[in-house]
């Protein structure tokens, strides 16, 4: 292991590190928004939207991100929509993540006992009031573990961005290896960089799960 090689590569890796973080953050936020909307359309059986949501989830979950990215980056221009690599990457990540987040939210909502809805109705609460005060707060809390797993999953998926040449971490490492043939050094930095992002995040999310559970159910 040649540490000077590593030291020389650090500026490039640092830039890639921040880019990976930035694209992940946008992709995750977008996925959460899409997922929340899709899951509510399904839970409250909104006519039309519910079917649309189902088709979206099936396509999104049953095609690889790699193929989704090829379609967005190389396919869409044929249909008259040309997006930069970065924008394509983020869209792809949101397209993939939205369905995973939707399923996570849905699993949270489904954990709510039917009896609660019934006793809420018996008190005169409308569906909307039930959603706001009963279903969503509990569903959110119950879905945090699944949402957290998706956050980690989506960050790792950004490594696939390399196929459309976005200079994120994996792309940068592969590029440097191609240029200088020092695979040990660059792969080492690559692993460390992902670990710096993912390990503290994973620990933080576990802490958050506990906090949310306590805040919501008092235990």
């Amino acid at each position: 292991m040649d540490w000077t090689v590593i030291a020389q590569s650090l500026p490039q890796f640092t830039a890639a590190f921040w880019l990976t973080l930035k694209l992940s953050a946008i992709g995750i936020l977008g996925s959460l928004v899409v997922g929340a909307l899709v899951s509510l359309a399904q839970y409250f059986r909104l006519p039309g939207l519910r079917q649309l949501a189902m088709v979206y989830i099936e396509i999104s979950r049953n095609t690889p991100l790699l193929v989704q990215l090829f379609f967005i980056y190389y396919g869409l221009p044929g249909l008259g929509l040309k997006l930069s690599a970065t924008v394509s990457g983020v869209f792809g990540l949101i397209f993939l993540g939205g369905s995973y987040m939707a399923e996570a939210f849905t699993s949270g909502y489904n954990a709510i006992s039917k009896g609660q809805l019934e006793s809420g109705r018996a008190l005169g609460l409308t569906n909307r009031q039930l959603a706001r005060y009963v279903v969503v707060p509990q569903g959110l809390a119950a879905s945090v573990p699944a949402l957290a797993a998706n956050v980690i999953f989506l960050i790792k998926e950004t490594s696939i961005f390399t196929v459309i040449a976005i200079p994120e971490l994996t792309n940068t490492a592969l590029d440097l290896i191609g240029l200088y043939y020092r695979s040990n050094e660059y792969l080492f930095v690559l692993v460390v960089a992902y670990a710096i992002i993912l390990i503290p995040l994973s620990v933080g999310l576990t802490w958050l799960e506990r906090r949310v559970r306590y805040g919501t159910f008092g235990n």
Partner: protein
């Protein structure tokens, strides 16, 4: 006699072609406590659930306080503010404290001010010995405590009538008494009540009348004492014997 608070005429309920309730007729007057008895599967729960629209019915008529109840969503939302209901599974909202469970419907549905509802909720809790539980979450309560909170939650809406669907059926034996006592007190305060129960001693103690349901029809509608001392039908007699009564 004054006009009935609730009157049910020729009510019929079916799931697809499966008829569950046929030609149900009865009245409940203000302040009356009616026990709805019968074997499992006789349709007691289904019947009590049609009275506030949790189960739709196909034929017949329901009147509440003299007005025909139009079986549509908007009417049920209104009516549920006047008819409280408590279930076998306590179903408190686990994300809300005891106090918030109680205050939710009065503030959001009846649109009363929280400042007005809260002291009332506190005093209702105190009256059933749960004053110090106001800020706890449901999971920190025992089954019996939860069920008492569920009753308080329904009472906080100032209902004109209460429906109780086997509210002690899933409680540990030592928890049953506290919940029953609470219902006895309510009856003494002239709350109009329909009670589905398997607690025969309690039914005898608290009910003015017994409706006996047999295979989806009411086969006896008699004063409670008469029902227990001289069961009016062979089936009622068998039923009481099966309950060791």
């Amino acid at each position: 006699m004054a006009e009935a608070l609730l009157s049910v005429r020729h009510l019929e309920k079916a799931y697809q072609k499966n008829v569950i309730l046929t030609d149900i007729n009865f009245d409940v007057h203000k302040g009356e406590v009616v026990a709805l008895l019968g074997r499992s599967g006789s349709g007691k729960s289904t019947l009590i659930r049609t009275l506030n629209g949790l189960e739709p019915f196909q034929k017949g008529e329901l009147r509440f306080a003299g007005e025909v109840v139009q079986p549509k969503a908007a009417t049920w939302l209104q009516l549920r503010q006047k008819i409280g209901m408590v279930f076998q599974s306590y179903d408190l909202f686990p994300n809300l404290t005891v106090l918030d469970n109680i205050c939710l419907a009065p503030t959001k549905v009846a649109k009363r001010a929280r400042a007005e509802v809260e002291p009332e909720a506190q005093s209702l809790l105190a009256s059933v010995g749960l004053a110090e539980f106001a800020d706890r979450y449901p999971r920190q309560l025992s089954g019996g405590q939860k069920q008492r909170v569920a009753i308080v939650r329904a009472l906080a809406m100032h209902p004109e009538m209460m429906l109780f669907d086997e509210v002690t059926a899933s409680l540990d034996p030592e928890m049953v008494r506290g919940v029953l006592d609470m219902m006895v007190d309510l009856a003494k305060q002239d709350m109009t009540m329909i009670v589905v129960t398997h607690e025969m001693n309690f039914a005898r103690q608290v009910a003015d009348r017994v409706l006996f349901l047999d295979d989806g029809t009411i086969t006896a509608d008699t004063p409670a004492e008469a029902f227990f001392t001289a069961p009016p039908t062979a089936s009622a007699k068998e039923f009481l014997a099966s309950m060791n009564f």
